[in-house]
Subunit: 175 residues, 2 copies
DNA sequence: GCTTAGATATATCGATGCGATATATCGTAT
DNA sequence: ATACGATATATCGCATCGATATATCTAAGC
C-alpha cells in the first residue's frame, strides 16, 4: 500500500524521500506509521521498476536530495491498481484508495464505496453472530471489544451512505 | 503483538496451532488477519525461548497435532508485558491488551484505558489542527477521511469514558 | 469396501513492513 | 566559532503477510 501512496503523492508533484515521509504522515498517518525503513526501500524499488525516476539527475548533489517524479508507466500502474477490485477492503486498503479517489471516475468511486459498505456489513453480521453464540463462553472484555467494533462499524456505514448519496445523483439523476 | 495474543490464549487452555489461528481470527480478527505465515513461526519462536512447550510430547504423532501449553516463564513474560507502559497505544496494541485485561488489576486496567484515552485525544487535536490549516490545500476526499476519523475517534473516547466510569467506582468509591 | 471432497493441520517461501539507529548537512542562534 | 535542532538519506534485523504445498482425517455417495 505504501507503493500506491507514494505514486499517488508523486502524481501531484515532484518530491524527495523526506518530503514523501512528511506528507504520508500528515495525510495518511491514520492508516499506518510511515517509517524510513519501509519508505526508502520502496522508493528504490519503484525506481528500479521504472515507475518513478529522478527529476533532476545529479543536479542537487550538494544537498544530497533525491527528487523523484512519476513516469508514464508509473501512472498506468497506479491507475490500474486504483480501480482494481480487491478481495478484501480493510481500513488501510480502502483508506489509500479513497484518499486518491479523485483519480477515479464517479462510477468507480461509487463502486469502491459500495464494496467497502458490503465488506463492513458482512463484518457486522459476523460479529453479531459471534456475540450471540459466544455470549457466555468468552471473556467480558473481549465481548466489550466486539460490541464496540459493531458500534463504530455502524457509524462507518452511515458515513459511507452519506458519501454515496452525494456521489450518486451525478450518475443517476433521479430518486 | 501476535506473541502476546498466543500467550494470552494459551493461558486459558492448551491448544495447537490450527486452533490458535481459529481463536485469533474469531476473537481478535478485528485487529489483524492472523496468517499461517506469522502464526507457526511465532509459535516456534515462543517454544525456542521456553515461553511455551508441547503439552503431550510425541504422544499425538499419529494426528501430527502439536498441542502447546504456556510455561511459568511464559506467564511471567506475558504479565510483565501486559501492564508495561507502551509509548504508543494504537488500535492493535490497545486491542490485544484490553482483550486480556482480565489478567490486570482494576488500577492497571483503568490506567490502560486512560492512556488510550489520552492517545486518542491527542490524535483528535492533531487532526483538528490539520483540518483547519489544510482546509484549502488538500484534496476533498483526504479531507473527508480526516473528518471521518475525528468522528469515529470521538465515539471511541465516549466508549472508553463509559468503561472507565464502570471500573473506577471499585477503586475510588465516591463521586 | 472404494473413492472423492472438504475440513483439519503443519509448514515454508519470497516479499513487504517496522523500529531503531547511523551518518551527514543545513539553518540559525549564541 | 560552535553548538543545536531540523533536514535528508540509508540500512540492519526482525516481524509479518499472502500464497502455496503437503498430508491426514472425516463423512458422503456409490
Amino acid at each position: 500500500m505504501i507503493e500506491m501512496a507514494i505514486l499517488g503523492l508523486l502524481k501531484d508533484r515532484e518530491m524527495h524521500g523526506y518530503e514523501l515521509k512528511k506528507e504520508l504522515t500528515a495525510q495518511l498517518g491514520q492508516f499506518w506509521q510511515a517509517s524510513y525503513g519501509s519508505l526508502y526501500p520502496t522508493v528504490r524499488r519503484l525506481e528500479r521498476r521504472g515507475l518513478i525516476e529522478l527529476a533532476y539527475p545529479k543536479v542537487d548533489v550538494t544537498r544530497r536530495r533525491n527528487i523523484y517524479r512519476i513516469t508514464e508507466e508509473g501512472e498506468k500502474f497506479f491507475e490500474q491498481r486504483l480501480c482494481e477490485r480487491a478481495a478484501v477492503l480493510d481500513d488501510t486498503k480502502f483508506g489509500v484508495r479513497f484518499a486518491f479517489s479523485r483519480y477515479l471516475t464517479v462510477d468507480d468511486r461509487v463502486d469502491l464505496l459500495e464494496r467497502r459498505r458490503a465488506y463492513l456489513l458482512e463484518m457486522v453480521a459476523d460479529l453479531r453472530e459471534k456475540l450471540k453464540s459466544y455470549r457466555e463462553k468468552i471473556d467480558k472484555y473481549t465481548y466489550r471489544l466486539m460490541e464496540h467494533r459493531v458500534d463504530t462499524t455502524r457509524a462507518d456505514i452511515e458515513w459511507i451512505d452519506r458519501l454515496i448519496a452525494e456521489e450518486k445523483p451525478k450518475t443517476k439523476p433521479n430518486g
